[in-house]
Symmetry: C2
Subunit: 282 residues, 2 copies
């Protein structure tokens, strides 16, 4: 484990939650992530499920608030939760806005100055992090699923849709489902990728699903009906559902009555998502 610095470790549901830091080559900066290893990993390698978090979150929010470890321990699945961006990179405007820079990597590879030197979260999540995890932890190489919440739900969808042979399963909680059509996305994509909007399609779940890359497997999305960001048209799950319908993509989009955008919503349905992934990972 020479590449990794262990910052904290806690026994949890017969397995362990650990917080690591390492030097990321993709981001040219330190990156942090948490790992839950279920008790089964003491006996033989286990599948891995990656969770991508939302705006302003670190690797900690999902790890402490979702209750994911209970179900993951029962099913024998490792959970990896990376931070949502590099931090303290020295980019002056990095901490100016909550929805750009620190905590707001949007899982894209930036091409524009000053971001492109460090904000390479797409490559980090899809390539560097799984390579590291599969080298350093008792997990089954290639047995990967991905899910996430809000900005991280967007991240999970685009990572899976662009890499259907790399991920066996995908789901999302209240994802930003049509990034280039919402205010958050237009701002982030403009800064990270520049003004040529044809380049934005590579990071827009609704555009990507039209390419029919994921057709043989279902997608699960839960969305609270009382989610303030649904009302503000930041999430747009209906646009994604329309695109799925058009191309024949199997989608289970569940509107959960009365739920908001918080981790109380995520925790309430985490079991269903783990069971969704387990069908494909086990």
């Amino acid at each position: 484990m020479s590449k990794l610095t262990l910052n904290a470790q806690h026994r949890c549901f017969g397995g362990s939650v650990s917080y690591y830091q390492h030097s990321s080559s993709a981001c040219n900066a330190p990156m942090r992530f948490s790992v839950f290893l279920p008790p089964q990993a003491n006996i033989s390698p286990v599948p891995v499920l990656y969770f991508l978090s939302g705006l302003t979150c670190s690797e900690d929010n999902f790890t402490v608030k979702s209750g994911v470890q209970r179900e993951a321990a029962e099913l024998g699945i490792a959970i990896i939760a990376p931070d949502t961006s590099p931090r303290q990179t020295g980019i002056p405007e990095e901490d100016t806005d909550y929805d750009l820079g620190s905590g707001a990597g949007f899982y894209v590879d930036a091409t524009q100055s000053p971001w492109q030197a460090h904000y390479q979260m797409y490559s980090y999540v899809v390539e560097e992090l799984p390579q590291l995890i599969e080298t350093e932890f008792p997990v089954i190489a290639g047995r990967r699923g991905i899910f996430g919440h809000s900005m991280g739900g967007h991240g999970a969808l685009i990572c899976a849709l662009r890499n259907p042979h790399h991920y066996l399963s995908v789901s999302a909680f209240a994802p930003i489902a049509a990034l280039k059509q919402c205010v958050w996305g237009r701002k982030a994509l403009g800064h990270y990728l520049g003004s040529d909007q044809t380049l934005w399609n590579a990071y827009d779940a609704t555009e990507l699903v039209k390419q029919k890359t994921w057709l043989d497997k279902p997608i699960l999305i839960d969305q609270g009906t009382e989610d303030q960001f649904l009302r503000q048209q930041q999430l747009l799950p209906d646009r994604f559902a329309e695109a799925c319908e058009t191309v024949g993509q199997s989608l289970t989009l569940r509107y959960q009555d009365g739920y908001d955008h918080s981790y109380f919503f995520v925790a309430s349905f985490i079991r269903d998502h783990l069971q969704h992934h387990a069908q494909f990972l086990q």
Copy 2:
């Protein structure tokens, strides 16, 4: 609900988590607490389980980190988590130490200046809060259990042992089990109650259990073996177990291998504690 100010509300596991503030007469100050109402409370009143938190915690830590709502929703039990002290009372040294004043009420009724004007957490937890809860929420009057973590485990034990007809069940995670024998306790009791140590016995679980008030019902305690505060002799569950043994009090004290003092430990065994209480509450 005129007495209560609702600060936040989230749908959760088919029920709801709500954060309230009210003017406490016991503490002569505003007090905050969280309430989880399970879905069953929409149909008929439910039993209530009070959770007391540890040093530095507010009503939020347990509510977001323990995963209690999943099991409470299945069993049909309401969960009340009060803050661990009044705050911003104007007492000058209130925020000086992490283990005295704000976040460190130790569930005692202070008799010493300057604390006695506001630090009346024992009366608040045992009398005022249940009266308020049973007036304002759909719960069954008198159908109460109590549990807690660390300082709050101490609180749960002393509240139950002193009021065996008031609580139907009690359990604790890593409790401070012999308050007057540990450094935390000697400091807090000295400041809140003064130097006459005979008065300290009323707030020491190991002393109280010798009075045989709880003999007809078992007590459940979980304690991690890698808990730093166990090593530092702040918790002393062995002293409590000895006293139980001496008087014939039924105690299940489980040393959980490798677990620390964190909420990852609490979350890992929350289901067992809910099931322990459900035997007596349902």
